[in-house]
Amino acid sequence: MIALGHYSYWVTVLLMVAGLYIVIARGNLVKKLIGLSIFQTSVYLLYIAPGKLIGGTAPILAEGYRVYSNPLPHVLILTAIVVGVATLALGLAIVVRIREAYGSIEEDEVLKADRAAGKDAADGV
């Protein structure tokens, strides 16, 4: 059962595709950001899962510690999580501003409002 043995990769791929799908398919700006976060989370898993060995400990140089997990992917993903949080926070902040400016967070309504405004401006000139 090789396929099942790598189940963490299946989870990774599922999250990746689901996240990307939400970003593309949803018109709600907040939902898009949720999808983006899921997509980024899948990458955390992609890095961390291969670094873990079953029965592995932290890398300690002493008697009795023979098998250890690679700590580097964890450190990398700690950085990536910070980046992900910052991106999500900034994205939500922009959505708040969009809501203040347009009164909606639905992409099609926002675009419609822009088209209407653009037409007014063209008529005005």
Partner: protein, 493 residues
């Protein structure tokens, strides 16, 4: 003594300047710190470029942790060249921003603008100088997050949506890049770019490495706005504050092109990318479509900023066209065009910033009779426009020349003809400006006679001067590009 730490200071100074500007809270003080940091980076980049030209690549072990364990900063012919472009443009735009940003942004937000600007400069310089694939991702996100904020500062509410769309696509691009790097790490166990290059040949044809190449290509292509992944660019450029448009147009996409070059020719190596996979064919087709469609779309724009934004997509097509040739002449053209287009577009967007200050926005209805109202600004746009077309005697000619040379060298006469023919479309859209500014009578939206504030005009004209200077003196631009191309194809730098 301090010289050996220049690679670290190159990035650290603008990075530290960012919180300093935040603490100062006064626009004038924040501006002074920003300019000082940018000038320092520019001087440091010039010194580094001179050192690299004299004695070969510089490797700097950050925190004295030797590579490949620690993070390595590496300056070679290619990265030194891009460092000079980025820090030079950062300095020019910072000088310009004093009047331009003050006119376009609310007073109480000005110091925040400079904070974000410093972060963006630090991020872009870091992306260029680092020799570590994951560190590159972190700098990419520093540069991207700050540029989303800078774009959202635009006065028009559409700037918010443009920034949001750029955030979504930019994050997808960066995440694709990390996926690619993760696969490379799984396959080789290293993140250092030089170390990756040394270890990859042993696992070159395995599926994770090929998938990594695909992920990195798509991710970085989103960042550099390669057709058809350019959709975020026109709106972002059109609605961002003038100084931000000029800076991003001149540097952000260029640094992403640098990352693509770095991965194709240093990490994966020309053999894998060019000989085994159809990367060059894909790039060639996308570049041709980018040049043709974006140039045609540019023709129909009613807004000058949008027009030149689409022209940017087309010009990036010329750069990737050079990359797709994967020959010495092609790569020289790509690197030289990266530089020449950077200063040309920088000059145009700075001058348009001056126009926007006088007219409010830069639609064609506002620039009728501009040749009379703002003669120096109009003349500058025309000269930079000539450089965009590639008229002999301007910087744009040099890179187009190498591009045509590369096409002929490869025996593709039709490609040479295509390059010349699409340059004619550029003639058409620059002519639209000439027609409106010089031949049309002044309309209702035309401003009174008078130039943009002197500091803005002077900085913009320095770049216009550079467009002409680098059309005659190619000892830095073309020579540097040639050295970079030699380096990428595996020769001595």
């Amino acid at each position: 003594m301090i010289f050996e730490h220049l690679p670290a200071l190159e990035v650290a100074v603008p990075l530290v300047a960012a919180p300093v500007t935040l603490l100062l809270r006064r626009a004038a003080a924040a501006w002074a710190v920003t300019v000082a940091a940018c000038v320092f980076s520019f001087v440091a980049a010039l010194l580094l470029a001179a050192a690299v030209a004299a004695q070969g690549p510089i490797s700097y072990a950050l925190g004295s942790w030797p590579p490949p364990w620690g993070i390595e900063y590496r300056v070679d012919a290619l990265s030194a060249f891009v460092l000079v472009l980025v820090s030079g443009m950062a300095t020019a735009v910072a000088l310009f921003a004093w009047r331009s940003a003050a006119a376009e942004l609310p007073r109480e937000q000005l110091y925040l603008f400079y904070t974000m600007y410093c972060l963006c400069v630090a991020g872009l310089l870091g992306m260029t100088i680092t020799g570590d694939a994951f560190n590159l991702f972190v700098f990419m996100e520093i540069a991207s997050l700050s540029s989303y904020v800078l774009i959202a500062l635009g006065r028009d509410r559409r700037a918010l949506l443009a920034s949001y769309q750029y955030l979504i696509l930019g994050t997808i691009g960066a995440t694709f890049y990390v996926i690619g790097v993760g696969m490379l790490y799984l396959a080789t166990g290293t993140l250092n770019i030089a170390d990756l290059a040394a270890r990859l040949p042993q696992v070159a044809d395995t599926r994770p490495v090929l998938a990594a190449l695909a992920f990195v290509t798509v991710g970085v292509s989103l960042k550099l706005a390669l057709f058809p992944l350019h959709l975020w660019l026109p709106n972002a450029y059109a609605y961002a504050p003038s100084a931000v448009t000029a800076f991003l147009a001149a540097t952000a996409t260029k640094v992403s092109v640098y990352v693509l070059l770095r991965f194709y020719f240093t990490v994966f190596g020309a053999r894998l990318v060019v000989e085994e996979l159809p990367v060059e064919e894909v790039l060639l087709v996308l570049s041709l479509v980018a040049i043709a469609t974006a140039s045609l779309v540019a023709l129909w724009q009613a807004d000058l900023k949008r027009l030149f934004a689409y022209s940017s997509v087309a010009q990036i097509g010329y750069i990737t066209l050079g990359i797709s040739m994967a020959s010495h002449a092609g790569l020289t053209a790509a690197v030289a065009h990266l530089f020449n287009h950077g200063i040309t577009k920088g000059a145009i967007f700075l001058l348009l910033g001056g126009v926007a200050l006088r007219t409010g926005r830069v639609g064609f209805d506002r620039v009728r009779g501009l040749g009379q109202a703002m003669p120096l600004t109009s003349l500058g746009i025309v000269i930079a426009g000539l450089s965009l077309i590639g008229i002999p005697g301007t910087a744009g000619f040099i890179s187009k020349w190498y591009l045509v040379l590369g096409a002929i060298e490869a025996g593709r006469w039709w490609l040479a003809a295509f390059i010349v023919a699409t340059s004619l479309i550029a003639v058409a859209y620059v002519w639209r400006f000439v027609e409106a500014a010089y031949l049309a009578p002044a309309g209702a939206g035309t401003p009174e006679r008078g130039e943009a504030p002197r500091p803005m005009l002077v900085t913009a004209w320095i770049l216009v001067g550079a467009c002409i200077w680098f059309g005659f003196d190619t000892s830095f631009s073309a020579e540097g590009a040639r050295r970079a191309a030699t380096l990428m194809l595996g020769g001595a730098p």
